[in-house]
């Protein structure tokens, strides 16, 4: 659903409070809603105090990996001998995920404020906000808000009248999923091909331009002002299941549901509540078949697992998948799992940077074998071949794109094997594609 729409009773509205409220896009409108108070407060604190506050809150990265944000910030050198950088990852490209786009479209100043706070905390001179090139509207909104933030003295050589300098620039991507990988993103800022780098060194030691760098996702940074304003205790209290997963999270729901869109819920909410209550379930007359809860890179759940899954980092692991970016893709009984797994594999084959053999060749072979099966030319040994290939593609490359291709293939075959076998014996179980 687009914005504005009235929040559902099971939502917890923090980040999405002003989605759909055009006035909140302006500096004046943002200030009227209490914006930039957190930044003002932070600029009067010691940077280490800001890091501690975020550490205390339990905030974890919302881009996919779920790494504790404050801890990540604390890896930056305390004694500053060289320039430091902050990168904001707004290269949202994980199939199923469209939450950062909404944050940037409606509350650009929330992101700018979050970036400014993080930048101050890690003692960085500059923030680069890396926005994917296809996001033309978020780019326009962010550029306008950034220009306004400079004009109003939020940024620049005397940020909020503090005497401190904060600079922030937008770097527009040009079409490459892999640039959402942190070191590929840094290469892209440096004017290189978006190839991920071998780690270590980690970004806090040698990131963009070889300098200490922290990189955070849009949603993570947008949560920071709320933590400063309302306190770590408040944030920690937002929890329905595991105390290691706290706060609110935006879930993007798409595919076969009645009301697709973004929903903000407290960590730990049942996935079934999100699908059936908030999104109105699958279309009339259909039944739920499968779900990918965390963006296309995480294993597929069958119906039983979906209905048992709690939406937080640990709850997803319990069901054998991951929370990832919170991109929930729902499949009803009309979905052809073989075809859709092939489409996912094709996505990764298209987006492979081609540095590592296992990924460059493995993703392409995976697609070819799946296409062969779909064309009715598969053989019974093909499924084992796919699984063997997937094993060779997991944990063996510079980044996890290859692993991400293997995840839906392995889980797809494991949970929907009969659909694959039906193609192989020449009797596809789902006639309609899609």
């Amino acid at each position: 659903m687009g914005y504005p729409h009235p929040p559902h009773a099971k939502e917890t509205i923090v980040l999405s409070q002003y989605f759909g409220d055009a006035e909140a896009r302006t500096h004046a409108g943002w200030v009227k809603r209490g914006g930039y108070e957190a930044l003002r407060k932070v600029l009067a604190m010691e940077p280490a105090g800001v890091v501690d506050a975020v550490k205390e809150s339990g905030l974890r990265g919302r881009g996919g990996a779920g790494f504790p944000t404050g801890l990540k910030w604390s890896f930056m050198p305390k004694e500053k001998t060289r320039p430091h950088y902050l990168c904001c990852n707004a290269d949202e490209s994980e199939p199923g995920t469209f939450k950062d786009r909404e944050i940037m479209r409606w509350t650009p100043h929330a992101l700018i404020e979050g970036c400014a706070i993080a930048q101050y905390a890690i003692q960085a001179e500059i923030t680069y906000i890396y926005i994917r090139g296809e996001f033309t509207e978020p780019l326009r909104v962010m550029e306008a808000a950034l220009a306004e933030a400079y004009r109003e003295g939020v940024l620049g050589d005397n940020a909020m009248g503090s005497g401190k300098r904060l600079d922030m620039y937008i770097h527009k991507g040009a079409g490459a999923y892999i640039c959402g990988e942190e070191t590929a993103l840094m290469n892209s800022i440096e004017g290189r091909r978006g190839n991920p780098r071998i780690k270590p060194p980690f970004p806090a030691a040698s990131g963009v331009f070889g300098r200490p760098t922290t990189i955070n996702n849009v949603e993570t940074l947008a949560a920071v002002p709320h933590i400063i304003n309302r306190g770590a205790e408040w944030y920690k209290g937002l929890c329905l299941a595991n105390p290691k997963s706290v706060g609110t999270k935006l879930f993007s729901v798409c595919g076969h549901v009645q009301r697709p869109g973004n929903y903000e819920v407290t960590m730990g909410v049942p996935l079934a509540d999100l699908i059936y209550d908030l999104c109105g379930g699958v279309p009339e007359g259909r039944s739920l078949k499968a779900c990918i809860p965390g963006g296309s890179s995480v294993p597929i759940l069958n119906r039983e697992e979906t209905e048992a899954c709690k939406l937080d980092y640990e709850g997803c692991v319990e069901q054998g998948t991951m929370l990832g970016s919170g991109g929930v893709i729902v499949f009803d009984d009309s979905a052809d799992m073989v075809y859709q797994v092939m489409r996912l594999a094709r996505f990764y084959a298209h987006e492979s940077c081609a540095q590592c053999t296992q990924c460059r060749e493995g993703t392409a072979w995976t697609v070819r074998i799946l296409e062969r099966i779909l064309a009715g030319q598969g053989e019974s040994k093909d499924l084992d071949l796919l699984l063997d290939l997937a094993e060779q593609m997991t944990g063996k490359t510079i980044c996890v794109l290859s692993d991400s291709c293997a995840a839906p293939v392995v889980s797809g075959i494991k949970k929907f094997r009969s659909e694959f076998e039906a193609y192989i014996v020449g009797k596809p179980s789902v006639a309609a594609v899609g």
Partner: protein
């Protein structure tokens, strides 16, 4: 321009100052490569070998390096495209919601016939793209810089007519 064999440089006057401002954001000249390529594409509609050579000279890198970068990113055009460049998302979430029907409708109504081809009148080039990041609003379609949501096959004829007449360019 290509017919005469003469190349008119892009980074003069206003565009030169624009690039100089961009250079101030980064500690290296090379870092301005993606923004410089965007300027070229916005000005000319695509990025020719001559333009790559100009960018290389301005940023003090080699033309081969520039080509290596241009070819990595899918949004840079190395060949001219139709006046309206149509990008349709067909990755899994949109695919589940009928994106391939939207593609067929665009290919038919624009006259492109096949993916990647430009229509005989030069008006359109249609391609399939991987995830546009608007999966809840299937099917998202980009027509040049316009990012449209909830496109279904029945909306395609009117859209094509609108862009063909230049109303939305």
């Amino acid at each position: 321009m290509e017919a005469t064999g003469k190349y008119a440089p892009i980074f003069v006057g206003e565009k030169k100052s624009e690039l100089e401002n961009i250079l101030e954001r980064y500690p290296t000249k090379q870092a301005a490569l993606l923004p410089a390529l965007w300027i070229v594409q916005n000005e000319r509609g695509w990025i020719s070998d001559d333009a790559m050579a100009e960018v290389a000279a301005v940023l003090e890198i080699t033309a081969a390096y520039v080509k290596g970068v241009v070819s990595f990113y899918t949004m840079y055009h190395q060949h001219p495209v139709g006046r309206t460049f149509v990008q349709i998302c067909t990755t899994t979430p949109c695919n589940l919601c009928g994106a391939e029907e939207v593609v067929r409708s665009f290919l038919e109504h624009t006259g492109c016939g096949e993916l990647g081809a430009t229509s005989p009148d030069g008006g359109f080039t249609v391609i399939e793209v991987e995830c546009l990041g608007a999966c809840g609003f299937a099917t998202p379609v980009m027509l040049n810089e316009d990012f449209l949501e909830d496109i279904t096959p029945d909306k395609v004829p009117a859209l094509v007519a609108k862009y063909r007449s230049g109303a939305a360019i």
